[in-house]
Symmetry: D2
Subunit: 359 residues, 4 copies
Amino acid sequence: MAAMMKAAVFVAPGRIELADKPIPDVGPDDALLRITTTTICGTDIHILKGEYPVAPGLTIGHEPVGVIEKLGANVRGYREGQRAIAGAICPGFRSHACQDGHPSQDGGPLGHGYKPMGGWRFGNTVDGTQAEYVLVPDAEANLAPVPDGLSDEQVLMCPDIMSTGFAGAEAGNIRIGDVVAVFAQGPIGLCATAGARLRGASLVIGVDGVAGRLEMARRMGADVTVNFREVDVVEEILRLTGGRGVDVAIEALGLQSTFEAALRVLKPGGTLSSLGVYSEDLRIPLGAYGAGLAEKNIVSSLCPGGKERMRRLMNIVASQRVDLGPMVTHTFKLDDIVAAYDLFGHQRDGVLKVAIKPS
Amino acid sequence: MAAMMKAAVFVAPGRIELADKPIPDVGPDDALLRITTTTICGTDIHILKGEYPVAPGLTIGHEPVGVIEKLGANVRGYREGQRAIAGAICPGFRSHACQDGHPSQDGGPLGHGYKPMGGWRFGNTVDGTQAEYVLVPDAEANLAPVPDGLSDEQVLMCPDIMSTGFAGAEAGNIRIGDVVAVFAQGPIGLCATAGARLRGASLVIGVDGVAGRLEMARRMGADVTVNFREVDVVEEILRLTGGRGVDVAIEALGLQSTFEAALRVLKPGGTLSSLGVYSEDLRIPLGAYGAGLAEKNIVSSLCPGGKERMRRLMNIVASQRVDLGPMVTHTFKLDDIVAAYDLFGHQRDGVLKVAIKPS
Amino acid sequence: MAAMMKAAVFVAPGRIELADKPIPDVGPDDALLRITTTTICGTDIHILKGEYPVAPGLTIGHEPVGVIEKLGANVRGYREGQRAIAGAICPGFRSHACQDGHPSQDGGPLGHGYKPMGGWRFGNTVDGTQAEYVLVPDAEANLAPVPDGLSDEQVLMCPDIMSTGFAGAEAGNIRIGDVVAVFAQGPIGLCATAGARLRGASLVIGVDGVAGRLEMARRMGADVTVNFREVDVVEEILRLTGGRGVDVAIEALGLQSTFEAALRVLKPGGTLSSLGVYSEDLRIPLGAYGAGLAEKNIVSSLCPGGKERMRRLMNIVASQRVDLGPMVTHTFKLDDIVAAYDLFGHQRDGVLKVAIKPS
Amino acid sequence: MAAMMKAAVFVAPGRIELADKPIPDVGPDDALLRITTTTICGTDIHILKGEYPVAPGLTIGHEPVGVIEKLGANVRGYREGQRAIAGAICPGFRSHACQDGHPSQDGGPLGHGYKPMGGWRFGNTVDGTQAEYVLVPDAEANLAPVPDGLSDEQVLMCPDIMSTGFAGAEAGNIRIGDVVAVFAQGPIGLCATAGARLRGASLVIGVDGVAGRLEMARRMGADVTVNFREVDVVEEILRLTGGRGVDVAIEALGLQSTFEAALRVLKPGGTLSSLGVYSEDLRIPLGAYGAGLAEKNIVSSLCPGGKERMRRLMNIVASQRVDLGPMVTHTFKLDDIVAAYDLFGHQRDGVLKVAIKPS
């Protein structure tokens, strides 16, 4: 009889519950990770609400920090007992999509292998990380040892939001001396703010409507913040830039209003780097887009994964370039994850990120 | 008393007429070009209809081929009597926008100098090329001698549509072996088709609804063509690519329908390269955009100008990489330009481009 | 008792001989390819001469065209009996080097996984392709089906020299309208010539000292050729370019003289794209390098591999963008491979590439 | 009779002396800048020694901070009395070289206009900045107002060494999480160290042989420093990187030994970004270069100029991303410039940069 573990599973819209599931068997290319810390992502709230469909019974969560419990027979380069993380996206690097430069869009080995978001497996197409154990697929490609001296909390952002937020700065191709505005200062936007600063922007403008988030934005690297509840964001940013507009605008929420404001404050020739998950058709206003002639490019990114990405992000943490620790505002036991969902889903008590601890 | 010349001027919506105007004085940085051949652009039709406002009395046209009649005192590197062209866009290369990599968005020396389309001067903010003479601003930056042996017709596409169409292929960053679909095979789309082939695409798919244009598309480099009046374009392109979609989709018309089809046939991670001039807000369908997570980038280009760009394009013509000559379907005297507008504006008689000859 | 096959093995410097070896066992990630055509590469001649050391008894060769005889248990997306090729370089795409963008430099799973040329396995660190059968490692990443209608000879260049030569054009970042000089018109140089043309150069200059190769260069896309035995190459290229120099110079031989000439004809700001395998220290002349201030960049490439690269290259062949078939000047049975080495090694009879057929 | 000014002029090898020269006339495209602070560059020492030839009587110096005394008739966008700087390199942005992306290699309007270092004019081909006044050529392209609140010393590095050092980081295309080694921590190397940090490197290693410079390196952003007089640099850097090597190595001195060490510590696939001015042929060791197959790219940069670059660099200073002020170790009156050359040329008293003040 298989050993059992606790896991947070999607039951039906509105219901994610703790359940007992067998600890998974380890295939030759897999690794079994004993979770020491994981977290809840905004995407999980979409799943909870039934807005993003997953199979009933699936374990949710895609941000693992843990200890290698067991390695598959083919997995070289690690040892059991080692602390490790894996990206929220676990690309199959053999695929056409990966070899073509789009690992997050890998759709498996058959056909040509492009599938939107196909690289996202944990808590989407396979059991996720809000559990005592998780099986890491293609572990040799996806498992990354945690450098000595880093705590779980310090690397907890690496699998998803740090990778995503930084990707916003990278895809925007921020250059030394750029002015960057980041729309929304939730966890992803805060990481984008930190990433913009890290890439050499000379002015980082953080936008949000919650004072606590704006304060955190300044802590993460924003030079100035704009509260959209108090001023007209577009006018204020044009004022701050002497009418020039920004070189790069990062959208980190997924609403028409933030997307549109980002486009409006962008200089001709600038780049709108989109990170948000939208829930309805987007509209590009003719004027802000210069009728197609203003050379405003719109790029988007989906959380880069793989062990090399994780290695780089953890090194950024280890070298103290950014300290994302303050973003972990609450800690829960896995046993209490339903309460954690409640707090996080309703954005109560100034929550930014919660740490979930199986033991 | 100033010598006079004939010029096609915008009078009022619906009226572009031939008028007598003084031959312009030549400032120290200018060159006076005696026009030998020019043409009418789709943009000029927007001006004619009053959809794009210009000052009454302005000479229209932005595609000059001619002979240097007189050089300003500061203009070095040319001689009077030399055949030359200038780009439709004449950037002021001293501007912040140019030095920052966006010459078509140059808005002059004051402030920080970004203005959407600011580099477009001929027939927009200064007198244009549908005249016996045109003044080329900042001539040392913008005037390009025509290589020996090339006819006016051979270089007539360089100032605008060849530069624009090729920019669509370049901005899409087409790689060797890419599959590219070009939506609409008017003059710009045909040049984008030629440009996609020139950049190393292994399959170029031309889309239009007019048989004659599809035939011309094959002549310009399309491997296959799709008539949207006969088949469902999206289904057909997915069929042609085995379900994979295209690496790069070029929009060359400016309609919601072509923009949307371009997005739908694009693989995750692909690039939509937009060239069209839109006349209403654009809509990005949620599904085709993967809710923002499919990493489909949307880039746009505005006709690169300057003497180096013109030099490169004319060299492509001179080395017989492409032959855009067949696109010149009709020739008119400048005296008959009103008739030329009528033919071109109504797309009669299979017209693609008209050559206008002052003498 | 294992079934046996014939294979060309390195015995000692100066001796590559046909031997009987067991047909290899197929591991879970491997595929066994029955070779129908392979070839000899210049690198194999270095091995023959003992200039590049390999283990005695190793089967030589790294350019496989064949039929899938047997698939490992984990290899999905193929079927036995399918015609397929694999790249000369078979990267392990799980490695840090691959995920970091350097698949040819992949050094395996341990440590950080960078090893110069580490992705080159066939005929280097594992048994190669000059045999009746070859084992393709990590087959799901490296095996590429041959499109219907293409002959063995048509795709025989894809695994190595087409991938390498085209990489020279790609790494040089050739832009539309560039002038490109390719130094040496052996098989790699000829492919670089074809690649330069395919990327949109307006003038491709082929350099060699053998009339037959210069003729082939013109056939592969060179606009003009320069025979270094007849003229001073540097002077002639500066003359051809009006003193401007070339935008990109591709070195395709591996000698100081070609490297140096490439640097001398390069415009300030241009790129020297190196493909050659050098056998002694290189010298950068101070003057040609502008003392470090002329912004002449020197890049190099090692044959990109993987199934996506092979797919793209075969599509280029299938769409008739280039016809490398004429480069196969001779055909030998595998039984006669020693004679083939003799002919190819001594460059007799105008040989460019030989086809080797096991049956 | 023309008004006179003091200027430091090259007389003969070994002799730079203060002389009286007429204050230059202001042409229509020029601006006359009254120098408030300038400095001496390592290049000036080469000129002093006669190693880099300039015309006798030329005013030396290329790093101007001053006040606009008089604007030429055509120069728009500035006002007299405004504080301003100009880059050490003053490109003529109308040239083919500039429009082609290589402003520092602009060789003027005739021919195709590439000339190594052609954009360097001050103290090279026209009178320089070690004087009471300097004439800024093409002022509208090259003059950049100093933001309020910044001192002369704070922006004194922008015209040359900050632009050069940062260009080393930019040309190396440093990515988030890269490991970067900077060879030599003189003024340029210190700026490269600051630039590497600013671009998101996770580990910056500063190399030099002088304790004071290593201390300054740590202040400018180096995480660790290596003294080549105490350890074997190559071994130490390989040790620090766990055998992996560095992603980017920046050469900031101009010697074979530093160039070679940079190549040796570079991972396969890495980039050597060269900033040094070499004085003899460079040698690329075969092994460190992987015989051409290790894909180690060698790029070089020459101090980007122009008003947009200056604007960006001053904004970096204004936003306190870096503080290069501590690099100004000494201040001299222009009257005492011969003594300043003596101190700086002999690297006495821990000198890094000297400020020269005309009044």
